[in-house]
């Protein structure tokens, strides 16, 4: 089984649409809630799509806004205007 990448976000109102978008776009993602935070693990690769978040919140979203609620992550990052991808190389 592929090593897991992860991202952790603060468990607040701003992060909810991001968490929903991640869960929708990554069927293998597992969301684990702890006090104050949410950690999302996913085997091999996890993608965060700007369009999916915008569909949740009904406004433009800049993926760099992730920094505001980001707690931690694990994986190589590839980010452009449309997608933020975490992966381990196979």
């Amino acid at each position: 089984m592929a090593d897991k990448v992860f991202i952790a976000l603060q468990n607040n109102a701003d992060a909810q649409p991001i968490i929903l978008a991640i869960a929708a776009d990554n069927p293998e993602a597992v969301v684990v809630e702890s006090p104050g935070m949410v950690k999302i693990d996913c085997p091999g690769r996890l993608v965060i799509r700007r369009a999916s978040i915008e569909a949740q919140i009904g406004r433009d979203f800049d993926l760099q806004e992730l920094h505001l609620n980001l707690i931690s992550l694990g994986g190589n990052i590839d980010e452009d205007d449309d997608e933020f991808v975490l992966s381990w190389q196979r």
Binding site: D3, A8, P35, M37, K39, L68, I71, N76, D81
Partner: protein, 509 residues
């Protein structure tokens, strides 16, 4: 490029981080940047460095300002609403005191270290990343001091962190960790702090521990903790990037980087034992055991990272298997040590109550029930009959990690682990094979270590002759700042405030 078209993220990053520097003409580049090649790291192309977040300075200011606004709004609310009364119990604050005394000064040291590393690198991308991190670390020191200052109004032990940083035996542990890194070259510094410490290990501090702070009602620590950790994600990414950058630039860099990973994994692991003890013992309401956190953040997430680096010829750090053997006993051994030397700590120690011992039995199983639970129960019985145990004799301290040598042998939990190393005709002592390896690699460096027990015996600790005089030299008031929690002023005040808090208007009338 069409006029007026918004640039993409990758284009913006390239424009804002490249071509900002110049080739020197009065002096050769190697003379202007002497630090970035003496460690033996070979760089062919500095433009190979990229920040995967592609954060530019303008975006950095924008998002940092937003984070600060959120953070200070919460800190103001916390102070105005007597947030200190909402924590689970006053003894929880021992963890916060240890954070203030041990970790906050590291943030400031990191600020200095990254300012130096930024000056030392000749590549503009690396310089910008170091500049941002240097600013972040200063922010962390300031926000932590600001948040903790509120507790200082109500509880003991918060008063002397700056005075104690250069004096206290237990604070020499984190201090020496960072000074070891800061006195290395810039590539080793960034590998040690950004990669080994921040990527591999600080998740254990900022995730399970800060989540624990949230669970224990500490809104101040939770808020700055997670706010700082969002910067930490960027630092971790820088750490992974610098390691990959070195490994990609030249094959000769691989053994150098591996040696640094071996060293800094071990030093970071030793330091984090304090965090594990905060999680298992200092949180009255517990979230996750050290053993579980180690399983998630090292054995799962950390090892995934090393699998990813295997393609460059990097293997798992030496002695990681020792950490696995110690994970069920590390925090128990460390707490029993802090407990007996609690006469010179600016925080309280205690024996957990039965519900907490049951939690530990559940989390740690037979080894806890066989060895550590009976010891804790014995010490509690002593305390209850008025014979609270303190050890009044100064301990042997490891020449490398500066932790009192309390660890037991990897394969024998009843025998202390002591390793004798020699340099310049003088013997020194280490707590483990990991620390002994680090010593042997650079003995000239570690023989200079200022170890507090030796300092005291040489008469260099304000003339203190024993542990009590030493505590006074730290500006610690006996049995107020130090010692047992039960019966302490903090505990008594807490009980009074809780009583007043619960009282109804009818009670008052």
């Amino acid at each position: 490029m069409a006029k007026g078209k918004k640039l993409g993220l990758k284009e913006r990053y390239a424009l804002m981080t490249r071509g900002l520097d110049w080739e020197t003409s009065y002096q050769p580049m190697d003379a202007v940047f002497p630090y970035d090649h003496y460690e033996g790291i070979k760089i062919k192309d500095w433009d190979g460095w990229a920040d995967p977040f592609r954060l530019t300075m303008d975006a950095y200011w924008k998002y940092q300002a937003e984070k600060e606004r959120k953070l200070y709004a919460i800190l103001d609310a916390f102070q105005q609403n007597n947030g200190q009364l909402n924590i689970s119990e006053a003894r929880y604050l021992s963890a916060v005191k240890l954070w203030l005394q041990g970790i906050t000064p590291l943030e400031y040291a990191a600020h200095r270290g990254f300012a130096h590393a930024g000056r030392a690198f000749r590549g503009a991308g690396a310089r910008i990343a170091c500049q941002m991190q240097s600013l972040d670390e200063l922010r962390h020191a300031q926000t932590q001091l600001h948040a903790f200052s509120h507790y200082n109004k109500f509880f003991h032990g918060f008063h002397g962190f700056a005075h104690m940083r250069d004096r206290a035996w237990y604070l020499s542990i984190p201090k020496s960790f960072f000074e070891d890194a800061m006195t290395a070259g810039p590539f080793e510094f960034v590998t040690s702090i950004s990669f080994a410490f921040e990527y591999v290990l600080t998740n254990l501090l900022f995730m399970p521990f800060v989540s624990g702070a949230a669970y224990n009602g500490d809104m101040a620590t939770t808020t700055f903790g997670f706010s700082a950790q969002s910067d930490e994600s960027r630092h971790m990414t820088l750490g992974l990037e610098v390691v990959k950058f070195m490994l990609q630039q030249h094959e000769d860099n691989v053994p150098i980087v591996q040696a640094w990973l071996d060293k800094w994994f071990w030093r970071g692991y030793r330091l984090l034992g304090l965090v594990g003890t905060m999680m298992d013992y200092m949180l009255p309401k517990k979230v996750m055991s050290w053993q579980e956190a180690w399983g998630i953040y090292w054995e799962e997430n950390g090892i995934a990272l090393f699998h990813d680096l295997a393609r460059y010829g990097i293997r798992l750090p030496k002695h990681h298997e020792v950490a696995a053997k110690e994970k069920h006993r590390l925090t128990h051994e460390m707490w029993l040590t802090l407990y007996q030397y609690g006469n010179a700590l600016s925080l309280h120690t205690w024996i957990p109550d039965d519900a907490e011992l049951d939690w530990m039995s559940e989390k740690y199983g037979a080894s806890f029930d066989e060895r550590y639970r009976p010891r804790l129960v014995y010490l509690r019985e002593r305390e209850q009959r008025g014979e609270r145990y303190f050890n009044n004799r100064l301990p042997m301290v490891c020449q490398v990690c500066q932790i009192p040598v309390f660890y037991t042998e990897p394969d024998d939990p009843l025998v202390q682990c002591v390793r004798i190393v020699e340099a310049g005709g003088t013997k020194h002592h280490c707590c483990s094979d990991g620390c002994a390896d680090i010593f042997r690699r650079e003995p000239e460096k570690y023989v200079q270590a200022l170890l507090p027990p030796q300092q005291i015996y040489r008469g260099e600790a304000g003339g203190a002759r024993d542990i009590w005089e030493y505590a006074a030299w730290l500006h610690l008031e006996k049995d107020v700042d130090t010692g047992e929690y039960r019966g302490s002023p903090d505990q008594q005040h807490w009980a009074q405030w809780q009583q007043a808090h619960k009282a109804t208007p009818a009670d008052a009338a």
